[in-house]
Assembly symmetry: C2
Homo-oligomer: 144 residues x 2
Amino acid sequence: MDVSAGSEARGEAWRRIRELAHTPEALGCLRDLAEGAGLTPGIAKALLHLSAEHPTSMRELAAVLRCDNSYVTTVVDGLEARGMVRRRPHPTDRRIKIVELTDAGITLATRMRAAVDRPPASFAALSEEEAATLVGLLRMLSAD
Amino acid sequence: MDVSAGSEARGEAWRRIRELAHTPEALGCLRDLAEGAGLTPGIAKALLHLSAEHPTSMRELAAVLRCDNSYVTTVVDGLEARGMVRRRPHPTDRRIKIVELTDAGITLATRMRAAVDRPPASFAALSEEEAATLVGLLRMLSAD
DNA sequence: TATTGTTATACTCTATAACTATA
DNA sequence: TATAGTTATAGAGTATAACAATA
């Protein structure tokens, strides 16, 4: 009896999950949006982690992007030069800078997030019941 | 009635699939292997697309890596310098170069492929029957 | 003339180290 | 002294254009 995670079916499931996630559909749409707005991929990725509701310090942005602090400076410079964000001083700790979306930044970030979150067209092949079954199985595979 | 691909359940399924695919587990293991062998990520990625059974031309490698021909030259230079591949002339068309794995390259490529193909540990939570159900649903979402 | 691969070059992505200002 | 951010710089990833060899 095979008690490992590596049965035939598990292996195929894992392969298909990886293929789906790397489908060029969502990523391509996102890239088109970013290119249309004159953003490089790195800058677009940072924009995806900003929202109007949650102001973010440079350091926090480095943490979510899993990159060095100095690179955040580069990326936020790029976002600022394109009018997508502005730097605001923190109200009480003047070492900290808050990265705040401009109206143009909010518009673009919202559209990019929608592009990322939209399931590929092939998901329409699932009935509601099948989609619910799929979610149930996927929930067994990840903690949150 | 909602006939789009964007129902609640489909959206959650898509989000969880993306999260699973980006789990640091497999990618981290792969990076450790590559680093241990002194490979940069780009070179390691190319190695993953080579196999002893299927000799590959530079041009074919550019196609599967979706990169420019000239970058393949850079990457194969790196693989050759590390003793992982050698360039062989094509038997009939002398414009073409075949990228051939060395014994060391075969060993490392095999271990890297195993690391990528191994499902995350959380897959052990699925019974055989659940794994089969999952595969059935995922097959509806991708063509091949 | 078209195709395979290489060279030269340049731009983007990203990190390390040294630094400034503030706490 | 420790922390947030910036600057200077360098290395890795990747593309474009010009080119050589072969078809």
